[in-house]
């Protein structure tokens, strides 16, 4: 039970860790150059974007190497940068096992996505701008994970929100993309509200927003204040990580170019919520606290909801989006289990980063060869035409369903077993979710790569260029072996322990545990059902009506309908009332006054007849009246 989080030490050396701000600076400078110098950089802009991302990755690797050179209790190094808000916030970076794991994932997978985008966006006339936004995204995400205080984290958090808005709406000439970007932005604002208010409460209660000072001030025991902070931060995490009830933006976010989907779903953005929960874990989500339980419940519910949505989608990207929701749900569940679950949550986050990027970029490769067709009912039999894409996609598929010995198997199974141990109900829900994952991912693979050709007439599927397939191969290598490397022997657990705490001895991975075996059986059953329905049987080229359960899942569990009836329509009524009041009330008053004055003066105008004698008479009468009045008051 003892959570031994190492003290944060001020970095004293002169190595790479002191220069870790370069990680953020490189992509930021890239974005700046590409945006400010505009079309002068069109010819080489994409190369600059890739170079900046790679440079950032190199810095991350060097910082990582230096970090593991320290002793275990020295592995939390803070780098002071400058005084941001005097007396309140010192801006600095925290390089510790947790943040460096994220930094490696973000820059590593992010760079691969950058490289892939060279090929994917080669026909887009705005490719340079695309790379500028990608760089901005990476920079913001790095600031989010590296900042040593909540304010820095929040700036990165908002930067990620901005970049995601720009990228989801990258093809803003499509109304659907513009709407999706706006939706993502608005839903994220709800989460940001939670994070922001949470930060306010932290500041007023503890007087600091720096991670290194909070540890001493928050005792670890839960009280009303930490519970409130925990729930507010969880709301923020839900917004960024697309957890219920703020999940609705994720599926629409598929309107962006596919590399963006990969970047949002694998390396950045949706992982930010998990990071927030794990980073705040020792302070506001201690093991057994209400906030942690809430996080676990949110995760369990979302993993089921995402899996159910994934079952019914014919759009390959939306199916993958549902699976992202589901997998992030697993991570959130793991993050809600206290230090025992953190290592698995982060482990799953890393392996998921690889296999989900693999799957998304694979889907992008398929679309690239199929005239941007996303409907899986118009695919079929593609494995012979896209061998590399098929092989890499298949590895990603095996990893995500938890095929034994692949990456997803170790990390997801770890979460499930820990969950069954700590929260049996949620744990078995996660087992069920894994079975559904087996179904919908198999359905996706069978519909896409197997069975009859159901292509559109003008489709000529072909393998993508190597600038796209090589990143796929690298990612599928990660999907193959990374899980075993991270989990077996407790490598990641031991590495992360100084940052997140936990018992001294890492948990031993149990290949024959009951939940693990049940999971495998359920996954096999799910895959078998998918084979019967979509592999062996012919897939109808037109979507069948389906039962009400299918409709339920197709409509994203009526999440949008709920939001519309609960928030959008009352909001519209409110604006209508306000507009009515403005038009009739305020405008009526102002316009009525003006009309009254105008009408009166229009009538008074008639006095000016143009007859000089009339004027003379009025002067005469006026003079007579004046004289009379003076006589009356006796001044003469």
């Amino acid at each position: 039970m003892e959570s031994e989080i190492a003290q944060i030490a001020q970095y004293a050396g002169d190595g790479v860790i002191g220069l870790s701000w370069l990680m953020i600076a490189f992509p930021l400078v890239g974005a700046f150059i590409l945006l400010v110098f505009g079309r002068f950089t069109n010819r080489w802009g994409h190369l600059l974007g890739v170079a900046m991302s790679l440079a950032s990755f190199v810095v991350a690797v060097l910082a990582f190497m230096e970090l593991i050179g320290f002793g275990e209790d020295q592995r939390r190094q803070a780098v002071h940068l400058y005084e941001f808000i005097p007396g309140m916030v010192d801006m600095g970076l925290l390089v510790d096992p947790l943040s460096i794991s994220f930094a490696l994932l973000i820059t590593g997978v992010g760079s691969l996505i950058h490289i892939y985008s060279i090929g994917y966006m080669s026909h887009d006339e705005h490719r340079r701008r695309f790379f500028a936004y990608l760089n901005l995204f990476v920079a913001a995400m790095l600031l989010l994970v590296l900042a040593d205080n909540y304010v820095g984290l929040f700036i990165g958090w908002e930067g990620v929100g901005l970049a995601s808005y720009l990228l989801i709406g990258f093809w803003q000439f499509k109304p659907s993309a513009a709407v999706a970007a706006k939706k993502a932005f608005v839903v994220n604002r709800v989460g940001d509200f939670g994070l922001l208010v949470g930060m306010f409460v932290i500041w007023t209660s503890f007087g600091t927003l720096a991670f290194k000072d909070l540890g001493a001030k928050v005792s670890g025991a839960e009280n009303g204040v930490t519970l409130a902070i925990g729930l507010l931060l969880l709301l923020g995490a839900c917004g960024k990580s697309a957890q219920l009830p703020l999940q609705s933006w994720l599926l629409d976010a598929m309107e962006g170019p596919t590399p963006v989907s990969a970047l949002i779903h694998a390396a950045t953005m949706v992982t930010a919520g998990v990071y927030l929960v794990v980073r705040s874990g020792a302070f506001f989500f201690p093991e057994g606290s209400g906030a942690a339980l809430a996080a676990a419940i949110v995760g369990a519910v979302t993993l089921l909801a995402g899996a159910i949505i994934g079952c019914a989608k014919d759009d390959i990207k939306k199916g993958l989006a549902g699976s992202t929701m589901s997998q992030i749900g697993y991570m959130m569940l793991g993050a809600g289990l206290g230090p025992a679950g953190y290592a698995f949550a982060i482990g799953h986050l890393i392996t998921h980063g690889f296999f989900k990027a693999d799957l998304f970029l694979g889907a992008g490769s398929i679309m690239h060869g199929m005239n941007d067709e996303v409907d899986m009912r118009k695919y079929g039999g593609l494995r012979k035409y896209m061998p590399v894409t098929f092989a890499t996609f298949f590895i990603g598929y095996l990893a995500i369903i938890g095929f034994p010995l692949l990456s997803g198997y170790f990390t997801k199974d770890g979460i499930i077993e820990t969950a069954v141990h700590h929260q049996p109900v949620l744990g078995w829900l996660a087992v069920l979710g894994a079975g559904i994952t087996g179904f919908y991912m198999s359905r996706m693979v069978f519909m896409t790569f197997f069975g009859q050709k159901r292509w559109a007439d003008d489709a000529h599927p072909h393998e993508s260029p190597s600038v796209m397939t090589v990143p796929l191969m690298i990612l599928s290598l990660g999907a193959l072996g990374l899980g075993a490397y991270l989990v077996l022997g407790g490598t990641l657990y031991t590495f992360l322990r100084p940052a997140v705490g936990g018992e001294a001895t890492p948990p031993v991975f149990d290949f024959a545990s009951t939940p693990g075996l049940v999971t495998l059986v359920l996954v096999a059953i799910g895959a078998a059902i998918a084979w019967v329905k979509y592999g062996r049987a012919e897939v109808p080229a037109v979507q069948p009506r389906g039962s009400f359960v299918t409709t339920f899942a197709r409509r994203d569990l009526y999440g949008d309908a709920l939001n519309e009836s609960l928030f959008m329509r009352p909001g519209q009524w409110l604006t209508r009332i306000a507009v009515f009041f403005d038009n009739r009330g305020i405008d009526g008053l102002v316009n009525g006054l003006a009309a009254g004055i105008g009408g009166t003066s229009g009538r008074l105008r008639r006095v000016q007849t143009g007859f000089a004698r009339t004027y003379a008479l009025s002067i005469f009468i006026g003079a007579a009246l004046l004289t009379g009045a003076l006589l009356l008051v006796g001044n003469i």
Binding site: R605, R606, V607, Q608, T609, G610, F611, A612, R613, A616, L617, F620
Partner: protein
């Protein structure tokens, strides 16, 4: 003693005022205005005599100067209007209105 002068002045002023109000011919209206001015002059001089200082007489001179200047400008306007409109009626010169 001076009452008669004042009565004469009031009568002249009244004739002038009525003339201004009821006559249409600009020249006649103009002469009526002069009549009013001179009625005032008479009143000033009378009061000057009555009170026993010269201020009223000085003001009468000023009024004469102003009246002379007014005649110059006024007659010029009337002649110009007559040339363009072939009419000296003040009621015909009613373009400046609402």
């Amino acid at each position: 003693m001076t009452t008669h002068y004042l009565v004469l002045s009031a009568l002249l002023f009244g004739i002038g005022a009525v003339g201004v109000l009821i006559r249409r011919n600009a020249i006649v209206v103009f002469m009526c205005v002069e009549l009013m001015l001179n009625a005032c002059n008479l009143a000033f001089v009378t009061f000057s005599r009555q009170v026993g200082n010269l201020e009223g007489q000085i003001i009468a001179f000023f009024v004469m100067v102003v009246a002379a200047a007014e005649v110059v400008v006024g007659l010029a306007i009337i002649v110009t209007i007559f040339r363009t409109r072939r009419s000296a009626s003040v009621d015909d010169a009613n373009l400046l209105k609402y």
